[in-house]
Symmetry: C2
Subunit: 251 residues, 2 copies
């Protein structure tokens, strides 16, 4: 059987989702729990890598295994063996050839900024702190220039294999900035992402919000295809993989 | 000069506000910062004790000191010496005889519950987790029975000096329960609190929310003046001192 499973995790203590030679990965912790519950250690296909320190509200993965445990009961069983910073939320059986990454239609990321002259003691793990006042309306204006099918090479960190292969066109279907008190949430939905793309996009929106960049300058930055023209790469800890949408309804 | 200062802190790593023989207190950490900035270590009057692990969004304290630093700049100076889980938010000069505790008209506490069959990896530090579904409407109904001037001995942990002195009448001016998704916030405003009163009140509201207690049973629990008739004491980590109101307007 092919199981599709939704995970939520606090990425603070992990080197990312993917198994790595150095550092503890979310995937390895998940495989340990699978082994404890199913007695086997199947390969896991994640919907994305996610960098060290990045969090997830709805990470999707699939694996093939045989078990008598009904899919709906799997999360409960796995949660007894997962560390508290990783939780299995739901599971279902999907067609044998379903792949959590390739079947993804769009993925939505959330980037959280705490924008206050004084740090909040509660924002340490899940926000990037920006002390200078950001104009969220300007950020929202700038965000709209990212929506559409564009070459996003200017928002791609160096060392990306997609960039090396000239595969840097993606489609952003929604990009929204919302302020609630001192918190600013940036939500991005796209069919795919380049390396560090959301963190650089968020950094570029902060430049607009701080008044150092005109929102209308965004198309020129994209057209330049030059990383140096975009804003800084914001910290991993503000980034959350929020949800994954599949073509086929996965209810 | 008498300075009144507002603090926010994550209480996870502290034994409470008050200096204690064992354990690190928020007050001691604050005095260290004062000493670094002012070169003296004045007595601090806090608006309340707050137990080990309890957090604060707007804790008020006052101290007497002489400094050329303008009050409005004090938080910035102190934050350079405070640990990141304690932040000074604002400061002002108040009359010489102003006392952060005795001048308090009411204090407002927030109790946060994460109510989901599956724990959230993000709720570990700042919520009490209740897996079974709670009916927030029933909790709100029960909460209204706490509003008013009552003898709250039934909501007082043993070992309280107020109880020993028969001083257990307090006035709750507002008590509200609000659900947002999987989170339930209980907000209580009163002229004073007995030992563990908010945590026992929250535990009693959870009994109502879980259907084990009728909202109409609350007056009988209060009238009984018996701790055993109220609900359990919920964990410190869900409790936040939200704000303090003073008779005299303090901006």
């Amino acid at each position: 059987m092919n199981y599709l499973l939704k995970l939520s995790y606090d990425g603070t203590n992990y080197c990312g989702f993917q198994v790595q030679p150095n550092g503890r990965s979310v995937a390895a912790a998940f495989q340990d729990a699978l082994e404890a519950v199913l007695g086997c250690r199947p390969d896991i296909k994640g919907c994305s890598r996610t960098d060290a320190g990045v969090h997830a509200l709805g990470f999707m993965l699939n694996f093939h295994a045989d078990t008598r445990i009904p899919a709906a009961k799997l999360p409960l069983a796995l949660n007894q063996h997962l560390p508290p910073d990783i939780r299995a939320l739901e599971a279902r059986v999907v067609p044998d050839d379903f792949h959590a990454r390739y079947a993804a239609h769009t993925k939505t990321y959330l980037y959280r900024i705490h924008n206050s002259p004084i740090d909040s003691p509660f924002a340490a793990r899940y926000y990037t702190k920006v002390p200078g006042r950001l104009d969220a309306d300007r950020m929202q204006q700038a965000a709209q220039y990212f929506v559409g099918k564009h070459d996003f090479l200017a928002l791609c960190a160096s060392g990306s294999s997609a960039a090396a292969h000239g595969d840097t066109v993606r489609t952003i279907t929604a990009c929204d900035v919302q302020r609630r008190g001192d918190d600013i949430d940036i939500t991005v939905t796209a069919d795919g992402y380049l390396y560090n793309m959301v963190r650089i996009l968020a950094g570029t929106l902060c430049e607009a919000g701080a008044g150092r960049l005109a929102p209308e300058a965004v198309p020129g930055i994209l057209a330049s295809r030059e990383r140096k023209n975009a804003g800084p790469t914001l910290a991993a800890k503000g980034l959350f993989l929020k949800s994954v949408d599949y073509d086929t309804p996965i209810e």
